[in-house]
């Protein structure tokens, strides 16, 4: 099966209509390239989105797709996945769709651990409505709706997800095709709600928002690639690391008495560590990779288990018995 599929099987006949240079193209390419590796036929795959630039995504995938309403994609996907656990269901959302109007659904789908693959494209701006600040925009952001700068304190998608005890939380970058593909594979392999924040450049309204981690010249010093069981090392020369100073993390230069054994070793199953990494801000580097991954029963699995148990215990439902249950009496003519 897997060998029979290729990228073209996942490319729809629709013309892609994002702005030239949009980071979404790179994400689409990575997804279309990676999907065949899962060995799941297009007809068994569903992409569900809300509203926003990212949410046009399903139209370009030659799978089943549902472009729904603003912020609600997780709810549609939950209903589908519960009643059709056989399907591979993906949710595509953005920082406005998933964290502003749809924040409620996102946190609930994560805490329930519905077996969905959730890709949140974070470009820190409202693109489709032409450039208002988003819930991930930094304080002071000057946009059309905030001429004097935003006074709105932003959400951090990673710590929001971790706050719900989501069972899989990762971050990657649109232009890092290899890493993005790896994260898609990790997300897909996970059973439960997989949350992947994809830092995505909006070259029209928020160009360069992630320059420090995506620019070839800068990224090595600003990206911290998380790998389970490995020390936290970064930098162009791989000579910087993260060490604990009491309860606080700090970036240190390796050498001069500091060795790898002094550094924090990443552990994907440690929620406290994941929170700490999720909260990294400059001058600390931006972590990318899997922050947190643990196993917990899925919501859809548990729901279907109850249905099976009920059937095993009571037998398949019988309509005649159901209608006539309780006290009945007969009226004769």
């Amino acid at each position: 099966m897997a060998t029979a599929l290729n990228r073209k099987d996942f490319v729809s006949d629709q013309e892609v209509r994002w702005c030239p240079g949009c980071g979404d193209y790179a994400i689409l390419a990575a997804v279309q390239k990676t999907m065949p590796e899962f060995g799941i036929a297009p007809e068994n795959t569903v992409f569900i989105s809300g509203i926003g630039c990212s949410s046009r995504f399903p139209y370009y995938m030659n799978t089943y797709g549902f472009h729904t309403i603003h912020g609600r994609a997780p709810a549609f996907a939950t209903g589908l996945k519960i009643s059709r656990p056989d399907l591979d269901v993906w949710v595509v959302t953005g920082d406005g769709d998933g964290l502003s109007i749809g924040g409620n659904h996102l946190i609930h789908v994560l805490r329930r651990n519905v077996d969905l693959k959730i890709l949140l494209f974070n470009n820190k701006i409202y693109g489709l409505t032409k450039g208002q600040y988003s819930p991930t925009s930094e304080v002071g952001k000057v946009t059309k709706s905030t001429p004097m700068g935003s006074v709105d304190f932003p959400f951090n998608p990673i710590t929001v997800a971790l706050g719900t005890h989501a069972t899989f939380v990762a971050r990657t970058i649109d232009v890092e095709q290899k890493h993005l593909g790896e994260m898609l594979k990790r997300a897909h392999a996970h059973r439960g709600a997989s949350f992947v924040e994809i830092l995505q450049n909006c070259n029209i309204f928020n160009d360069g928002a992630f320059n420090d981690v995506s620019d070839k010249a800068l990224k090595a010093d600003h990206q911290l690639i998380l790998e389970h069981g490995k020390p936290l090392i970064f930098g162009k020369n791989r000579d910087m690391g993260i060490r604990m100073n009491g309860m606080r993390p700090e970036a240190v230069q390796l050498g001069a008495g500091v060795t790898e054994s002094d550094l924090v070793v990443h552990d994907e199953t440690n929620l406290s560590l994941a929170f700490m990494l999720g909260n990294f801000e400059p001058p600390l580097p931006t972590p990318v990779g899997v922050f947190y991954a643990v196993s917990r029963p899925t919501y859809d699995g548990a729901v279907n288990k109850q249905l099976e148990d009920a059937k095993a215990k009571q037998g398949a439902g019988d309509l005649k018995t159901l209608l006539g249950k309780g006290d009945t009496w007969t009226v004769t003519s």
Binding site: A41, E43, I48, T68, I69, T328, W329
Partner: protein
């Protein structure tokens, strides 16, 4: 209706051989149980209803309870009531006025006394009329001693004391004893109206299976109440309401919410697809969620969502996957769901949205019924988004309407709105059990053939599009809220195409009128006045029309189940009458639709009190209209 027991029906002496006291026959009796929210009046009423149903009476009930779960004891805010009409002939309402009021405390008396006609029987728990309780209920003096109740037949019973005597020696604490008082009342009333208490004993056994001492106490108190009726000298006789002559068959007692839940399960079983409910708890709809949660083996999925929006969206997601999808709510939830329902209209996926209407606006009176969501159902979405609307008229009718709503949704690939209300939801009546094998067919045929498949290629007759569910090879396609091209469903901003799609969807919904059965007119096909109704006003309208017809008036009754589209023969039916009167528990919504569609000068009769119409109110309005 609403005549005191002494003169009700054709009272006749009958001599039961077993009972030493005589019992008198009554045509029908209306009892209202009233007490604190914690006094168990709903349970008492439901059990008396079950006993009466098993005795073969026709019944109609009207629970009336506060939104507060346990308001401060003894206050007017905390009074919970349950009215029951049981009859030896066909009845349509729970009765305008009680023949018997059971008041467990002064507040219950105060809250209900204005509905009680002279000579009616009032049974009170004398001990509850303490100085402080009397004051808390807003009385200046004790109504039991100040002669203000002289025009009624007041029967004072020491319910609390007799209850505690009945369980004497069992070592129960005061609270546990107090909570058995309702069983004493039920036992006493059961004797008074010669109801069999076996069904209540069975109920108690299952309810208190795990607490044998509470079971024993309740049974003792129930029997003590029954025996008290027999031995006390307060009741000179007992009464008998003989079995009603209703259509033969197997019956059970059912509330509207239960009937709605069963209608959905039946429809799903008939369609061969699982049922999926996405819902968020809201009064008075939650019981449907509770009930369906117990039917997992059918299979039934119940998803208690994080909010109303998620409830409806999950249902649409399940529908996309091929389930029979429903969502249940009440007025405020309808507003929240509106955007998603519009999407379901646009992508043409089947779903039933059930609105158990309650008194608004805003939070309003959550436990009280109203009919003010009709225009919201018709027009409460952005854009042109027509939706079929079906309304149930009695508790048992909720079964047929839920079933029919699913049938239409699936056949026409459209969301359907089912309207009931708080009165239907919690009211009960005998239900002639349908033969499961003879329910109408609900045919679900998923598209499977990739050859020439187009997601918006319509059935030439129904105009419905194919239901192509994920998992079907070769039918991969995308649907969404953006305007889409005819046939292919691809995103399209073509002006002409947009109009074509809007008009096509409208034609599809309008076309449903083809299969609406011919309008049934109760009474003559023409005359001076026709009363047109929808929903739970059925009972009082039918009863009122029967009354005026008995007096020779040329008045008929038409009751609508299909509110959108309206029946194709409705216009000509209405035009055969000189006047069209439309009673509604709103400010006049159907009347606007009728006037707008047919240019008929129909007039409304409106009540917005969170209470159903009384028969007498409608009867008086008819008479006024006829007097011109």
């Amino acid at each position: 209706m609403a005549v005191p027991p002494e003169v009700a029906g054709q009272a006749a002496e009958s001599h039961g051989s077993a009972a030493p006291k005589p019992h008198l026959q009554r045509d029908h009796v209306v009892i209202r149980f009233a007490g604190d929210s914690g006094d168990g009046m709903q349970l008492t009423g439901m059990q008396f209803t079950a006993e009466s149903a098993l005795a073969g009476n026709d019944i109609a009930t009207l629970p009336d309870f506060p939104a507060e779960i346990r308001a401060p004891q003894g206050t007017l805010a905390g009074v919970s009531g349950f009215q029951l009409n049981f009859s030896s002939s066909e009845i349509f309402t729970a009765g305008d006025e009680p023949n018997v009021l059971v008041a467990m405390n002064p507040a219950a008396l105060q809250a209900n006394i204005e509905d009680v006609p002279p000579n009616a029987v009032i049974i009170v728990d004398r001990e509850a009329f303490t100085d402080s309780n009397v004051k808390r209920a807003g009385y200046k003096t004790n109504p039991l001693t100040d002669h203000s109740l002289d025009k009624f037949q007041v029967i004072e019973v020491d319910v609390t004391k007799l209850t505690s005597l009945a369980v004497h020696g069992m070592g129960l604490n005061n609270r546990a004893v107090f909570r058995c008082r309702n069983m004493f009342v039920l036992g006493m009333l059961s004797w008074l109206y010669q109801r069999p208490i076996e069904s209540t004993l069975t109920y108690l056994e299952s309810r208190f299976k795990k607490t044998p001492e509470i079971l024993e106490a309740n049974v003792k108190v129930l029997k003590a109440g029954f025996n008290y009726g027999e031995t006390t000298e307060m009741f000179a006789s007992s009464y008998e309401v003989p079995a009603a002559r209703i259509a033969p068959g197997l019956y059970r007692n059912i509330t509207g919410n239960s009937a709605t839940a069963l209608g959905f399960v039946a429809a799903a079983v008939k369609s061969g697809r699982p049922l999926f409910l996405g819902s968020y708890p809201i009064t008075p709809a939650s019981d449907i969620l509770h009930e369906l949660a117990g039917f997992k083996n059918f299979p039934v999925y119940t998803f208690q969502a994080e909010d109303e929006i998620s409830g409806v969206c999950a249902a649409i997601g399940a529908s996309f996957g091929g389930a029979i999808a429903i969502t249940t709510t009440s007025g405020p939830g309808m507003n929240l769901k509106a955007e998603a329902v519009g999407l379901a209209v646009k992508v043409e996926l089947p779903m039933v949205i059930t609105d158990i209407q309650r008194a608004g606006p805003s939070t309003g009176m959550p436990t009280k019924p109203e009919q003010a969501d009709l225009l919201q159902s018709m027009y409460g979405r952005h854009g042109e988004s027509p939706i079929p609307i079906i309304a149930a008229s009695t508790p048992a009718d909720c079964f047929d309407c839920a079933y029919e709503a699913v049938r239409i949704a699936v056949k026409y690939m459209t969301p359907v709105i089912l309207l009931t209300d708080g009165q239907l939801a919690n009211g009960a009546e005998p239900w002639l059990l349908p033969d499961a094998d003879k329910l109408p067919e609900i045919k679900v045929e998923f598209a499977t053939n990739p050859e020439g498949f187009l997601p918006y290629n319509r059935d030439p007759e129904t105009l419905s599009r194919p239901w192509a569910v994920p998992g079907t090879k070769g039918l991969e396609h995308r649907v969404g809220g953006l305007s889409s091209e005819n046939l292919t469903g691809n995103v399209s901003y073509s002006p002409a195409n947009n109009e074509l799609m809007v008009r096509t969807r409208a034609r599809k919904i309008a076309g449903i009128s083809r299969e609406i059965p011919p309008t049934q007119v109760f009474g003559d096909a023409d005359g001076d006045l026709v009363v047109l109704g929808w929903g739970s006003t059925y009972g009082p309208i039918r009863e009122a029309v029967k009354h005026v017809r008995a007096k020779g008036k040329k008045v008929s009754h038409v009751h609508l189940r299909y509110l959108n589209p309206l029946p194709h023969d409705l216009e000509e039916t209405l035009k055969r009458f000189k006047q069209v009167m439309i009673p509604e528990m709103n400010m006049g919504q159907l009347v606007k639709m009728i006037r707008a569609d047919y240019l008929i000068p129909a007039f409304g009769f409106n009540k917005i009190q969170g209470r159903p119409f009384k028969v007498s109110e409608i009867e008086n309005r008819i008479n006024r209209a006829l007097e011109g």
